[in-house]
Point group: C2
Chain length 702, copies 2
Amino acid sequence: MSQPLTATRPTNAATSIFPLRQPPPLCSFLFIIVLIVATFYTLHHPDATPPLLFSNNALTLRRLFLSSASNATISSYLRALTRHPHLAGTKPSLDTLSYVTNHFQSLGLDTHLAEYEALLSYPAHISVAARFSNNTTVEFDLNDGPGDDDVVRPYHAYSPSGSAQGNVVFVNHGEERDYRALELIGVSVRDCVVLARKGESLGRGGIVKIAEAKGALGVLIYAENDGGGFGGIERGTVMRGIGDPVSPGWPGVVGGEKLSLEDDRVARRFPKILSLPLSLRNADIILASLGGARAPVEWRNSGRVGSGQRVGPGQTVVNMTLQGELTMKKVHNVVATIRGSEEPGRYVILGNHRDAWTYGAVDPNSGTSALLDIGRRFSVLLKSGWRPRRTILLCSWDAEEFGMIGSTEWVEENVLNLGESAVAYLNVDCAVQGSGFFAGATPQLDGLLLDALKLVQDPDDVALTVEETFKSQNNIIERLSRVDSDFSGFLHHAGIPSIDMYYGADYPVYHTAFDSYDWMIRNADPLFHRHVAMAGVWGLLGIILADEPVLPFNYISYAEQLQAHRDALSKLLQGKASVDPLSMAIQEFSLVAKEAQDEAKKLKEQAYNKNDVAAAAKRRELNDRMMLGERGFLDSEGIKGKEWFKHLVYGPAAEPESKLGFFPGIADAIATNSSEGMIEHEIWRVARAIQRASRALKGGFT
Amino acid sequence: MSQPLTATRPTNAATSIFPLRQPPPLCSFLFIIVLIVATFYTLHHPDATPPLLFSNNALTLRRLFLSSASNATISSYLRALTRHPHLAGTKPSLDTLSYVTNHFQSLGLDTHLAEYEALLSYPAHISVAARFSNNTTVEFDLNDGPGDDDVVRPYHAYSPSGSAQGNVVFVNHGEERDYRALELIGVSVRDCVVLARKGESLGRGGIVKIAEAKGALGVLIYAENDGGGFGGIERGTVMRGIGDPVSPGWPGVVGGEKLSLEDDRVARRFPKILSLPLSLRNADIILASLGGARAPVEWRNSGRVGSGQRVGPGQTVVNMTLQGELTMKKVHNVVATIRGSEEPGRYVILGNHRDAWTYGAVDPNSGTSALLDIGRRFSVLLKSGWRPRRTILLCSWDAEEFGMIGSTEWVEENVLNLGESAVAYLNVDCAVQGSGFFAGATPQLDGLLLDALKLVQDPDDVALTVEETFKSQNNIIERLSRVDSDFSGFLHHAGIPSIDMYYGADYPVYHTAFDSYDWMIRNADPLFHRHVAMAGVWGLLGIILADEPVLPFNYISYAEQLQAHRDALSKLLQGKASVDPLSMAIQEFSLVAKEAQDEAKKLKEQAYNKNDVAAAAKRRELNDRMMLGERGFLDSEGIKGKEWFKHLVYGPAAEPESKLGFFPGIADAIATNSSEGMIEHEIWRVARAIQRASRALKGGFT
């Protein structure tokens, strides 16, 4: 049953994004003249595209898009996609590939596959046994589903094979400061197996990396989020960097260059020590059994140490084994293309991954269902005569869970053309995890995002728009320094303005066997209203970015955000290094952003005439400059030690030590206690990146 | 006296570059309609540029350009520029700056300066003394001009200060194979001062670098080209890499980041051992005095060893001292802009440097005079109503002699926008050294270059065009792997299609005090006919690249050239590594090049209508793809050990050991006896670069 759940708010829509235009005087006469010219033109250029005499009405179009929403179709897509677990590289994952491909093709969309070969990692055999002080031994149950043989056993992809045996030490979140706390009470983890609870700031790869550096033999990680009480265990990857590890920096196309596993460029992508995930229940058993030193006070106060209040080592010995399988598998991205009518060589890209650790109802197929419904609704618009000005791509990525492999290989293969022609990348991974709208964006898209939210009804309160709830709730547009979904390659490597969105956060069944359709309809979105809202926002953003003659970018927001970043950095530095180069660069950037904004306003106010070559050229040049502004933040040398990451404003730093969340190169320099000179050099690099962005936005040369 | 020395050849011109079009039927009627529309448009858009109703006739324009040539003005420019030596950073160089700036401004051209601070190097004190076997001592005269105090003493810029004393060993050209020949006869240069004669393949920086690696204490270099018999001594730089050494990789703007001299990134740009240039006569004195081992047979046969036929060490000891001055100086580039009427955001750049070691009549002011005359003639065209479709820049670079510093800093400052908007870079350094036309180009410009040569009369034979003489003489368009003039930053760092041209080669007064106006009119171009021809070719290339609606690029030539490069590489490798990845990539590139060529042909054949938005958009997209094709060859990692050089097809390799002259990364891997795996990795990198170029040329995504 189709049940439209979103509605336009005409007043907002008309004023904020695309005002209705009055026909100018003399229009009728000119129209007749143009008709005569066009008739002759058409008669004498039979091959040419006929001139478009009637422009789409943007408002009508957006209304049509929103009113074509359907929770029924979205739920049917989700049910179909989540029938079986569909881990990348496995047979059932090919069913989801066919499903998505057939869907786009049946809608009449031009659809193709972009396929790569990549090194994936599966568990063949795993075990964890503990011997306690009383000499009893427990062999832990490592399944998270009672008898669910379809799902892959909980493991850490790319952990080395082998076995590790040692006394257990509890290391809290496994951050550097946790090891410092242990050091203060005289505890070393050398030759031990560490037990860590996943915190908010350090990912599992980071936990393993630090443990390895401290001399641990193995790592057990558990999540306090206990799979919603079902005893779920969180799967995940511990690979360093993103993309196929045997084709680092280049596309892993079939027949292309692949490095051997022994090559240092490959080997350094993997941890040297074993790691495995553990259920909360099993972790609690170990925690309770620990002897050794008394836990640091703060840890005890946090309530998460065992009943003995001790962290080890001593009393409890763990033996863990892992026989993994590293194997080359095909990964399949699906790309559906809606060719632009006027600027086919400019692209708006919507992307979501398809592969899942288990059933993937939240992660990622809530997003896939929304994408498929956007495809359906776009095809309705196409049938009603719409053709977007720019080309829209709907992308379904593979093997994201192993480290954004599908999207990363595609970005690597297309990086030059992306830089030249991609207007924006709009990512949705887990569309619906629960309640509340969350989004991250590069700052020039903030205004557009909020404008789009104004047009979509809140799924949890019919009287409000998503924008109103968003503003009253968290009201923070995050910045995309995270490396946890497919926007990473687009933003951090290729410098494409990006948005990432999701409903809800920190859902309990994350990466467990319980991330299923049942869980979704029981817990997160029974009537698929949130799915509809997400599809509405996502699709609208696509339409607006594809259709607006002048790109709806606002670099003044970016300048303000950079200013705030500068202030936060300055505060952290406390005079240890000068931020003057940043201040100067941001000042110039603000001026240029203002000029671009004024120019955009002027061009928007001009009557839009499809046959005005000069105006079209002016718009195109401004649009190109605004598109390229973001590319300025890329630096060909990249972030030190993580050179693949080229964006100097947003990207991965040694979190949580860096405390910043932006300027990753500077953050790393501070976190690693670099000299003042090295910190200032990193500050200069960011300042020069901002200068490049200014020049891109301004155009021309010095 | 103005004496036009070039004439168009109407038949060639009309067929080869821009055929005259017949007005299509119905033209008159449409014209009236368009007039009506345009009138209303103009009335109701008073601010807009009036629609251009009459297109320039390309042929007439080119005729007008060629007929406005003047050897008298060029010679007057050259005389004014070469009145005093004008080494970069010195006071007299500011006079040439004013001269060039005033010239462009007086023509009404929009002119600005792009200024940087850079570390330049001057000699404060130099000496070379020899003690012979008979215990006599000679203090050599190190001046090349009899009593010419205006010119800087012959020196090697960036040689360290200090003194070196040791037995002299003659090392022939100072190449690796020369040291191998010495080793065979038991001669080591450790702790010696080496004497090298400059050969054709290894530059002075390379000679010093190898000598340093062999343990020499100092280097004396002489040129066999004895300044035309005047006893000239060749100045030059021995810096490694190009651009300001204290701002490596970024623009050395005033107030920007500068590294200290102790920083490794700076220190590695300079040799660790002293070097100085010597006159042929002084070198002969030392050569004749040498004892030690008998010279290798081939050296003796070449006739360039001393009368004793010995290479040292023994008998002759040299003591050399150098007190140099490393100092920050302002460098000043001049940029004159002729704004494009239809595509102001696309750029054709003509560039030449202005600074000279001495008077610089050949190097570089023969080129500067031609550039100034092109400016004069362009302003004539502008006054006659011409406005180029794309923007043209006339650039006068500073501090080229120290290592392409002015142009490199500018490229570094503008690299993002250059990549986005520069159609081509046309370089002329020494416009006239003697007779015979020589040129290097990226291969997609070969056809355009030959077409332009067909339009210009040969300066030495009125019955022929430059193209006819060129074809009957050397007939080889070189490839631009050299790093010896300002095209380097544009091509090797920014991937801009480039041309470099000169009349004559190997002129005897190179970098000596005798490179003067007098020498020019007595030896190289008494009546400035060759200057006129060069200005004709250069300016025409600028006009054509700026005006042609469809860019006159031909990537089929590039594909053929790559194929030939592949064959030469394959022959050199003799099966040691597979070139299959290259073959596959070139095959794809050939197909895509053919498609682009067909598309260009079709678009060229379409009647050109300034008001046809759709056709304009199609041309723009094809042009952008052709512009970007060259960028595909860039790789963000660059050439190993020379990472600033990003172009993987053309760029510096460890010549002459590499034997290739292209694919510098592969060449280096072979020259350094890398493993098969490393050579194959470099082959893969080039293959992927060619794939990127294919995708850029094709547009869109995989």
